[in-house]
């Protein structure tokens, strides 16, 4: 997914808020052209700007755009030992103010290099930028106070009109805080789909509410003891808010969800969605979030909105069923000697059709010499008998366990049968032993015998809050979503902007918050999937979860 695509979509959202503040934005066309320059590096005349960083290094492609380093929010970034300061309108066009909380966050909130620490420890005071000093900064790298800017800041070849356009856009950038935040509260929501099993729904909501209660107790405690910390924590309290969690229950078919979500949002706008649970496609919910620039952290779904996820506002744990299809293809493509033929049996429903299409595409790309046989559920056994495949992949979709068990019984006994992860309980508990022995399952989670240090702490945290741990994986997933949101919110301090939250999540996800559901969780700029791989596992009665690894970690 290209960076320009990310910034373009998020930029589109940013231009919506231009309309809300015309008095600050200059003329619309100026701001529009400035936005284009900021997000893509394209000048008013349609040509790409040229720029050199580090004195003599010409930059190319999307990396020339202001948004690359200063990010779509304009709040800058800290990466690779380089501190990129915020350049939103209120900051740029006012005299530089020292902010002790922001300084503490930059200086001590991350493990950066000595050069980085030296940079943020030397605040450069400067007057407000004016058109001519902004032009000088962009072209010559000298700030409004006459000081030289960092060599990493490119020196651009821009006309006066380009600079004016950019100034018009920057005045509007992150000028209006996102809805859902008051001086005391942050409104959050979690979405629950109509067919979510009661036990899972209850476990997720109980976990989230426990986290909200715990956060709120901490916030109230900190607020009631002003000056409590001799160190810097006290400075950060001003950005803390109590959390108010709204449960958005959806009814009916997915096509009707957007209207229901709009109604909930209309009654009480929220700043972010956290966790969530729905059977079926997440796309209607993701599209709603994109249309409101509403960050959504880690819903529990097998069917994320994949095709526009890269530029969107929803973060997922993984690519769900597509990951499993691609993982199976990679697993089979790596077999030696190479396989002759693989049979794919497609069950009922759209999810099965999607997985089958993904598998076909991935196998064709990774193992073009392997013959792919395809059949529907009813013809599966006949196709297996006539085609003599080396392996059989089944995407059951909405097919019932009984029908699936009947099919498996009819398949040739010597061939391995591969199933997606949602049939793990079926394979380990429902199938007869001799049938289970031939099953291979996709497993996008950490193996049960791996021990993550944080898992002990999270369990202890849950127990000490009286939470029953009935659905450990799901509760750990919800807990991760809540802790990551907490960590990202604390980076914002008082600057509650959607794009800034997205950027904070991107950079905080890889920290030490993973409670062990996945081997690793990490994001980066523009990344939307925390975990990128899976195991192939076999049924093993002796293993704690009933399955044991049949492959290394596969990252297709």
């Amino acid at each position: 997914m290209s960076i320009s695509a990310v910034v373009a979509l998020r930029g589109f959202a940013a231009c919506i808020c231009l309309a809300a503040v015309p008095s600050l934005a200059g003329t619309a066309s100026e701001a529009e052209l400035g936005k284009q320059l900021y997000l893509t590096g394209r000048r008013a005349d349609g040509t790409m700007a040229s720029a050199k960083a580090e004195g003599d290094v010409p930059l190319a492609g999307p990396r020339i755009a202001c948004a690359a380093c200063h990010r779509p929010s304009g709040f800058g970034s800290s990466e690779g030992g380089v501190f990129t300061p915020p350049i939103t309108g209120p900051i740029l066009f006012n005299e530089r103010q020292l902010d002790r909380a922001r300084f503490m966050m930059n200086r001590f909130g991350q493990a950066q290099s000595k050069l980085f620490r030296a940079r943020v420890s030397q605040p450069r005071m400067r007057p407000a930028y004016a058109p001519e000093t902004l032009a000088r900064a962009l072209r010559e790298g000298v700030d409004a106070g006459g000081q030289k800017l960092d060599a990493a800041m490119p020196r651009y070849d821009l006309s006066d009109a380009d600079v004016a356009n950019l100034a018009a856009y920057l005045r509007s950038l992150s000028a209006t805080p996102a809805p859902g935040v008051t001086t005391e509260e942050i409104h959050l929501a979690t979405v629950v789909g109509p067919h979510a099993p009661d036990s899972r729904r209850a476990a997720m909501l109980a976990t989230l509410q426990a986290y909200v209660d715990w956060t709120n107790k901490n916030v109230v405690g900190e607020e009631s003891r002003q000056g409590f910390s001799p160190y810097h924590r006290n400075d950060l309290v001003g950005g803390r808010r109590r959390w108010s969690l709204h449960v958005w229950e959806l009814q009916g078919p997915p096509e009707s969800w957007p209207a229901q979500l709009e109604a909930y949002y209309g009654r009480q706008p929220v700043f972010a969605l956290v966790s969530g649970l729905a059977e079926g496609p997440w796309r209607p919910i993701a599209q709603f979030c994109d249309s409101h620039r509403l960050p959504a952290l880690f819903p529990i779904t097998d069917q994320p909105a994949l095709d526009d996820a890269g530029a969107g506002y929803t973060f997922y744990f993984s690519k769900g069923r597509r990951l499993e299809a691609e993982g199976f293809a990679a697993f089979l493509a790596a077999k030696s000697p190479p396989l002759r033929a693989v049979l794919q049996i497609q069950g009922d429903g759209a999810e099965a059709a999607g997985a089958a299409a993904d598998f076909k595409r991935a196998l064709g790309a990774k193992a073009p010499t392997v013959q792919l046989l395809e059949a529907g559920l009813a013809q599966g056994a006949a196709a297996a008998a006539s085609g003599t495949p080396d392996a059989i992949v089944i995407w059951p979709g909405e097919t019932s366990d009984d029908a699936l068990a009947g099919l498996i019984k009819e398949l040739p006994a010597i061939v391995k049968v591969m199933l997606p992860s949602d049939r793990t309980a079926f394979a380990t508990q429902r199938l007869a032993k001799d049938q289970a022995a031939r099953i291979l399952l996709a497993d996008p989670y950490e193996l049960a015998n791996a021990v993550h240090p944080l898992a002990f702490r999270v369990r202890a945290w849950m127990r000490s809050r009286g939470l029953a741990i009935d659905e450990p994986r799901l509760q750990f997933q919800s807990y991760y979503a809540a802790t990551l949101l907490d960590a990202a919110l604390s980076r914002l301090l008082r600057d509650f902007y959607s794009d800034y939250l997205i950027e904070a999540v991107e950079s905080e996800a890889e920290g030490d918050l993973n409670p062990g559901v996945y081997p690793s969780l990490a994001l980066g700029p523009g990344q939307r999937f925390g975990s990128k791989g899976m195991f192939v596992v076999r049924v093993d009665d002796a293993a704690p979860d009933g399955v044991a690894a049949a492959s290394d970690w596969i990252t297709p």
């Binding site: 290209s2 960076i3 960083a53 580090e54 004195g55 003599d56 290094v57 010409p58 930059l59 190319a60 492609g61 999307p62 990396r63 948004a67 690359a68 380093c69 990010r71 970034s77 800290s78 990466e79 690779g80 030992g81 380089v82 990129t84 991350q110 493990a111 950066q112 290099s113 000595k114 050069l115 030296a118 940079r119 030397q122 960092d150 060599a151 990493a152 950079s507 890889e510 920290g511 030490d512 690793s520 990490a522 980066g524 700029p525 523009g526 990344q527 990128k532 791989g533 290394d552 970690w553 990252t555 297709p556």
Partner: protein, 199 residues
């Protein structure tokens, strides 16, 4: 940025910790660099053309090497660091044309060969340049071998650095932070002339 010589006080403990003034560079260098010995681990990495390569074998070939750690979703330093090596190509090649420029991903699960190709597409093509990725464990071993692990386990805090080496068996020159083309060429020239003096 004020490139203080702070970095020169940093991690001694290993060999030959000296600040290198490139021969022929008349003005004083403000680049923080030091010589060090690194042993590449015997790991198999995959390049942007899906070709698998043993890193230790690749580095044992008799070529000068310019090595950087990058990740393709990086929007800040990685693109500048890559641009420096690619833009310096005419001057580097004029000194010695058989060098190998390596960009090794530190985000290997995201940076598939396909993503490496997409990243390469943002830059001018350069036959010296190879982009490599691998398994998470193998990349961790490479980072450790080059003393380039990120301090709190998150790639966003990785330090921009460029590693130069004139020939197998010669020490590596580790340059910390971002540098310009002229500086890179001067350092490359210094390393090459150092080899010719010694050998």
């Amino acid at each position: 940025m004020a490139r203080l010589s702070l970095g020169r006080l940093a991690p001694l403990g290993f060999l030959l910790a000296v600040a290198v003034a490139a021969p022929g560079a008349a003005q004083q260098s403000n680049v923080v660099s030091r010589l060090a010995s690194y042993q590449a681990p015997a790991v198999v990495l995959t390049d942007s053309a899906d070709k698998r390569t043993r890193l230790d074998a690749l580095l044992a070939e008799d070529h000068p090497v310019i090595l950087q750690f990058i990740f393709t979703s990086c929007t800040t330093v990685c693109g500048v660091a890559t641009s420096t090596v690619l833009a310096a190509r005419p001057d580097l090649a004029a000194l010695r044309d058989d060098y190998v420029a390596l960009s090794i991903s530190i985000d290997p699960e995201y940076d598939t060969p396909e993503r490496l190709r997409e990243y390469a597409g943002y830059f001018p093509p350069d036959p010296h340049w190879r982009l490599l990725t691998g398994s998470r464990d193998d990349i961790a071993r490479v980072l450790k071998a080059f003393d380039a692990q990120f301090s709190d386990g998150t790639k966003m805090t990785h330090q921009a650095a460029t590693f130069l080496r004139a020939a197998p068996g010669r020490p590596w020159l580790r340059i910390e932070g971002l540098i310009g083309c002229k500086e890179l060429v001067a350092q490359y020239k210094g390393l090459l002339s150092d080899v010719s003096h010694v050998d």
